[in-house]
Every structure is written in C-alpha cells, then in structure tokens.
Symmetry: C2
Subunit: 491 residues, 2 copies
C-alpha cells in the first residue's frame, strides 16, 4: 500500500515535470559561451604559442588519473565541467602549433574552423534536400569546382569520411563497372580480380581489398623508382603476371603524393596502360591533390584529367548515375518518390552510408575567404618552404636527405656525431635505426616539437618532416634543424 502511494505521488511529480522541457537553454548557452572562451584560450592562443609545449607527455595510467575519465551515476556541476574542457585541451596534442610536423595535417585555419563549428551547431545529415538544402547545393558546387580543377566539365562525386573510405569507393565503383552483377551476387560470382598499386601507396588499399571481399593477395604491388614513383614497365609486367595466374585486372590505384615520401606516380603513362587494357584508373590524391591549385606545380599530376582522380570525384565518361546505381538501396522512408521537389537532390543514396556528416562547409568557407588565389599561394608557399628547408639541410653536417623531395615531405636521416664516417661499419644500420626513436621520445617528453619517423623498404628508421602549415616561416625551419641536432647530437 505504501509502495503504491509512493509510486502514485512519484508519478504525479513526474507528470508535472513532463510538462516542462528537461533542458535549460539559457544555462546551456552560458556554458557553451564559457567553454568557447576556454577553447580560444587553451587551444587557439596557448596552442599556437611557440613558448608553449606542443604536447604534454604523461604515461597512460597517470593521464587517466589526471583526467578522471570515469562515467558515473550522477552529473557534475558546471564549473567542474568547464575544468574538464580545460583539462582535455591541456593534455591533448596541439596540432595547430607551428612545431607540429607529425602527420599530414597541421595548423589552423579560422574560417575552416568556423565552418566546422557552424556544421556541428546545425547538426544535420547530408542525405536529402529536405533536411540539408544548403549543404546539398554547396557540396555540388565544391565538387564541381574541384572537377574543373582537374579539367572536367562534367562528372560526379561525394565527400566521404576520409581517404580510406574514398579509396574503397573507387574500388567498389571500378568493380561494379566491370562486373555489375557483383552487387546482387557478390564477389563469388566473379573471376579472381587483380588490383595494381605501387609498393609505397597508402595501406588503405590493403584494408579495402580485405574489407570488400577482394582479398589482399589480389593486390599486386608495383615497384617504385628511386623517388618512390611507380615504374610503369613493372606495372605492365605485373598486369601480365596477374593474367598468367588467371586473374582479371580491373583497377590501377595510382597515387599523387605518397604518404611517406610524397611521390607522384606518372599518370600519363599509367593512363595509357589503363586505356589499352580497359582498366579503371583511380588516383589517390588525398595528400598531393592540392597541387592542382597551383599553376606552378600542377604538372605533377599531368594526366589526371584522363580518368579518375581524387577520392570522391568521377569524370563524365562514366554513366552519370554510376555512384547511385552502384550504392543505392532505395530506402522508402528517406528517399520517398512522391516528394514535391526535384528528388535528384536527395543525393544520399549515392553514399555507402545513411547518415553522413556535412563536410563541405569547412572547405567552402575557407575557399570563400581566401579564394582560389589564396589556396594557390598556400600550395606554392609550402613548396618554397620545403625548398628552403632542403637547402639548409644540405649545408648542415649530420643531415642526410633521402632523395630530392618532389612535394612537401622531407625525408632524412639524422646521423649523430658518433656515427658520422662510420657508414661501412657492420653495425651502422642497426645503430642508425635506433636514432630516430630516441630523438622522438626526447622531443615528446620535452614537448618542443613533433615529427614522424618510419622504416620503409630497405631503409631503416628515417624522419619524415612535413612542411605545409600556412603559419610557418623560415625561423621555424631553423628551429627544426637546431632542435633535431640538440636532441640527437649526443647519441
């Protein structure tokens, strides 16, 4: 009896409560405004200050304690939550910092970031004109402008969640074009297929072949020359090899700007081979594609207009609706066929996803802000900075370049004083391989800068310095060289 009463009274309170929104918008907006100030201060002011650290290293156990990650029964006070925002910022790596050279992204663009904030606040999905009218039209404009950079008047395309998924799109479209029955019947109904890509292409080609049921053994790795570019004679040989094994070639995955060395595969002769053999040429330009903005450097991608570049762009020789035919599932709850507007604007069925984040606004707003000219300037500037760094590096003892950079990746060994002139001693390679990891550990623990290293092919660990951030100047290059010396000279 008591329980029932309590339940009823509880129910009454609940019902009154149900008549009020659960959310206090004013308090929420106050919190967001305070948090914005913290973000501005910690991430965008301190985070770009060369007097502040790039990263603040902590062992995982210690960091977990500092962050107090545990999710509990009860919520927290606003001031505690604001402190959490501050802590997350504090202990995160500052990828906007002028001395962050660790990945293929760096620096901040405020218009792009504004585009992201606006996208997140609007929180819609890029599937129909109904819920994303602005972004359906905007994506179309950005893609069309990118296609015109390539040299195409017509075509199609889509923004994807990253380069790997874009490469998967290419693999799926190429397969579908050659064998449209794959959609219904699967890979089993097809002959053994063969994909061709260079030894130094991105590892996502392997991920895609595994994920899409093609199999990694059907990816034929084509040899590269000294600069890391695909050797087209070897491509022809590998195609013959695949055929002799009974496999059917369907896709050449070329790269404009390889991940480690920034090499550009020779697209003209590759396109010739693809033409002759009837293969789809995909160009993974996730890294190097920006050269198309530059009159001075776009020659690196000469031949790109002949087929299929970029991640998400396809050219007009293909049926206009190939993306849609390949990926559509015609969900009636989303892509109703009795809408009152032009339903070809509901572009979501071209995607392999259902909900798809809006990615076009960031690029669009940045482009509007600086113009094609400004984008070209950034590309040219990155090349100029790279040349400057390479010249300086040549003049310093202990820095040994791996080839002449074609792009903005500068690959080099640092040879500490103790190893110089000992190239012929039997343990040289072994000792050299241990240099980069130690320098890296020291720089992370001191937080002065971040740069990546890796072994590749027969080469032991070497550094890969990336020169792209528009906020760089000569003095950052000098700092970089000095810092490598400081951290590594006593090894």
């Amino acid at each position: 009896y008591i329980t029932t009463l309590a339940y009823k009274s509880d129910l009454r309170t609940k019902q009154q409560h149900l008549n009020e929104p659960l959310l206090d918008h004013r308090a929420g907006q106050r919190f967001l405004t305070e948090a914005f100030k913290v973000i501005l201060e910690e991430v965008l002011c301190k985070g770009i200050d060369v007097n502040e650290k790039v990263c603040e290293w902590h062992e995982p156990e210690e960091l977990a304690t500092l962050l107090d990650l545990e999710l509990r029964e009860n919520g927290e006070q606003q001031h505690q939550l604001l402190q959490r925002v501050r802590d997350v910022a504090k202990y995160s790596v500052k990828t906007n910092h002028p001395r962050f050279f660790n990945q293929l992204f760096a620096g901040v663009d405020y218009h792009a970031l504004t585009g992201r904030f606006l996208t997140e606040a609007l929180n819609t999905s890029q599937y129909t004109y109904e819920v994303a009218p602005v972004f359906v039209l905007m994506e179309d404009e950005v893609l069309s402008k990118l296609r015109s950079l390539v040299g195409w008047a017509q075509g199609d395309g889509i923004f994807c969640p990253g380069g790997t998924v874009s490469n998967m799109y290419a693999m799926n479209l190429a397969r579908y074009r050659a064998f449209p029955e794959v959609k219904l019947k699967g890979q089993r109904a097809l002959p053994r297929l063969a994909v061709f890509t260079s030894q130094e292409s991105h590892y996502s080609v392997m991920k895609a072949a595994a994920f899409q049921g093609i199999g990694t053994e059907n990816v034929f790795k084509v040899k590269v020359d000294d600069r890391g570019c695909m050797i087209t004679d070897d491509l022809s040989e590998k195609i013959e090899l695949a055929k002799s094994q009974g496999a059917v070639p369907f896709l050449v995955h070329a790269t404009s700007g390889t991940t480690v060395r920034g090499a550009f595969d020779p697209l003209e002769p590759i396109a010739d081979i693809c033409d002759r053999q009837g293969l789809w040429m995909h160009v993974d330009a996730a890294w190097g594609g920006s050269v198309l903005f530059s009159k001075e450097h776009r020659h690196l991608m000469r031949g790109v207009e002949r087929w299929e570049p970029g991640l998400f762009l396809i050219s007009s020789p293909f049926p206009q609706d190939l993306l849609k035919r390949c990926h559509s599932a015609d969900a009636t709850y989303l892509f109703q066929q009795d809408k009152f507007y032009d339903m070809s604007l509901d572009t979501g069925d071209k995607s392999i996803q259902c909900g798809r984040k809006v990615d076009c606004l960031k690029l669009w707003l940045m482009w509007k802000a600086v113009g094609s000219q400004g984008l070209e300037e950034r590309v040219d500037r990155a090349f100029a900075h790279t040349r400057y760094l390479v010249e300086k590096m040549k003049k310093r003892e202990g820095f040994q370049l791996i080839g002449k950079p074609e792009f903005v990746n500068v690959c080099f060994w640092f040879i500490p004083a103790s190893l110089r002139g000992k190239e012929n001693s039997p343990d040289y390679q072994d000792r050299l391989s241990k240099v980069a990891p130690v320098i890296k550990e020291r720089m992370i623990k001191q937080g002065t800068m971040m740069v990546g290293y890796q072994p590749q092919g027969g080469r032991v660990n070497f550094f890969r310095m990336i020169v792209i951030s528009p906020q760089l100047s000569y003095k950052d290059m000098t700092f970089f060289l000095d810092e490598i010396e400081r951290l590594g000279n006593n090894l």
Copy 2:
C-alpha cells in the same frame, strides 16, 4: 630580359614574405569569436524558438542564388564572410527546434555540442596515443562503460562514422571469424554465404552486402509480426532455406529499434538459434540501444548480453584482438613497433579507416554532465511522452495508429474528414497515400514543423513521429496534433 627581371623582383618579394606566417591569428580569432556570436544567435536562440520557423523553404535555383555559392579567384572581406555564416544558418533546417521530428535525431545538448567544438578545435585523429592521448583513453572508457551496460565485463569496440559503417564492421568480423582466409583470398575462396535480417531492418544491411562483396541476394529477409519484430520461426525456416540452396549461414543481423516502427527483435530466441547454428548474432542498436540506460525499459533488449550488440561493441567470447586481426594492415609509418610507450594504445589499426575523427568526447562530456541517471531520465521521459501522445491521438478523430509503439516511434495515418468512413471504397488506399505528401509539402513550405512519412510493406504512406528530444513538453504534442489537423483537414 624584362620578364626575367620581373620574375626576380617578384621572387625577392616572395622570399621576404616567406619569412612571415601567412596567417594572422589575431584577425582569425576575432572572426571566430564574431562567428560564434552569430551561431549562438541564429542557430541556438532563433533556432530553438517556437515562434521561428523550423525551415525556410526555397526552390533550389532560388536558394543557390540567395547563397551565392560560387567559389572564385579572390577571397572576400570578413564582414561578407560573417554574412555568409548568417545565411548558411538562416537557410538551413533547424534540427534543434522543438518542432523538428523529421529524423531519428532532434534537439540540442549543450555539453555534447561543447564536446564537438572542442574536438574540432583540437583537430586530431584517433589512431595513436602519440597524437590523441586523451581520446585513446577516453574512447576506451566510454566503450567499456557501454559494454558494462550490456552486461559484459570484457570485450572490445570502436567508434565508427555512423550506423551503416558499424553494421559493415559486424558483417566483416562475422565473416572473418567464420572464414579467416577471406582477408587474404577474398570472398571468391568462400562458399556462398547467407545473412539473415528482418524485412524491416535498416537498408544498410543491403548496402553492406553489396559493398563487401557478399551480394544482396544473399541477404535473407525474415518476416516480421504485426509489431514489426522478427518472427523467429521464420528465421529458422530461412536458415534452412539458405542451406538447401547450398549457402552457408554466418550472421544474423537483429535490430533493437527498427528505423520506421521502432520494433525490437526478440533477442533471446534469436540468440538461442544462433547458439544452435553457430552463427554470429549482431544487434543493430543504433536507434534503440539507449533503452539500456533505463531500468524500466531495458527489458526490450533482453538477451543482448548473449552475443554481439551495438554497433561497435564486441564481447569477450571472441579473441581479444579480433578487430585488429581482421582489419590491421600494420602501416610502419604510423604504428611503429619501436615506440617508447605501450603500443597497444595505438588502436587505429583496429579501424578500417586511417584517419578517424574523434567521436567519444561529445558523448563523454554529456555523460559527465548529466550522469547515467540523467541519461536514464531522458530515455524514460521519451517513453512517457510517447505514451502521452498516443493517448491523445487515440482520442482524436482522424488519427489512426499503426500498432502500439514499443519505442518512441509513433506511426499513424491521418485521415482527412473527406475520407473518414470510406475505408471500403475502391480508391481509399490510393487517396490515403496522397495525404501525407501534401501535408508534408504544406508544413515545409510554411516552416511550422517537420515530420517524416513513408510507405512500408503493404501500407501506403503514413507518418512516423519521433518523440525523443529532451526539450519537448506536453504542449509540443498538442501542437503537433493540432498542426497535422490544420494542414490536412481540408484534403
């Protein structure tokens, strides 16, 4: 000669210029701050105001003109760019608005949004502890907490770009567990496979089967009962049917919360069948999984602990490293094996992607803010509001419910006065099918609210009202019913 001189002088200017950063951080931060105010005003104040429109309809051509989307050679002034931010906000759909019921998302959570802003400002990628120390640990904590909701002490998981990709992960893992040779050799080396899912499951199952080389004809659609739940007897029959055709069953794709009707497949008996047959049970809980937060409603997913729920969670019966074994490509430039810290923290190779956006912070910060209790309250509240709406709907003429909602999807026909009592006339269904599209057109053009409709199975177009936003109250339900009547009564 003149050209050369000009070129040299140009070069000198360029070189001076290269010694200065291209970016003006102060101006950039000023712009971001101004844009933040616009976002606050347009998206978060006006965007949630019931006196303002949910959407502002324009024909595509007109909208393109209003937005001036074209990307040009030259950049624009800051005040023009700020106006663009305002325009994008103005013409976008207000998904945060209390009268946006169009998709399976709605409303704003300020802590979650703060998490997104911070994520975007930090701009890192979720692949290594080196560049994402906070987020590697945070993702682990969030996933572990979600697993414990399911009832698992151990397991693995990953955040993916949406439910479709999560379903693809499940398909790939299930296939790999049954036939690990698929990674190397592809689907061709395997027997014909068979996937089972209900007739009303999400269309991404078909997309996944096509994309992953399994083939859509190998997806066996299992019948549903009146409520939209998978009929397990038919599942058993379909499994036998597949076997009789020589196919090898490997995966049952169950759904907790179907897209249109919000139905929960009966996981206990499905798990029994999967146990007996040795099949992987995947539970697509992208929509209904939140019931696990609620002591009152978690029974809807009874049986989920027996195998494989959620999108990105796998339980302990599987080898700890299944995700990694299935997806890894061991990129040496990213996942170096000679790092100075515990390299199992470089979780990126579990993913099918390379760069992966940080998705955990949004959920983590919201969870910290309201606690598990607050999340439970939201779930319970959504159920209570749904019950309220259903009761009110039953009392109004012209509203005809399609079944009793199990979840927060309320599916119904609106029967205009002219059609009432005419159920037996031969053109009734045809006329009824035209009601929802017209009401939808009217509401979009007037901007008063947004709600979805669709045909399904043998049912002509009906509305699907979604009741989840924490900012709803009773008066919004009343408004909804009144508005449907107002828009549709004269049809």
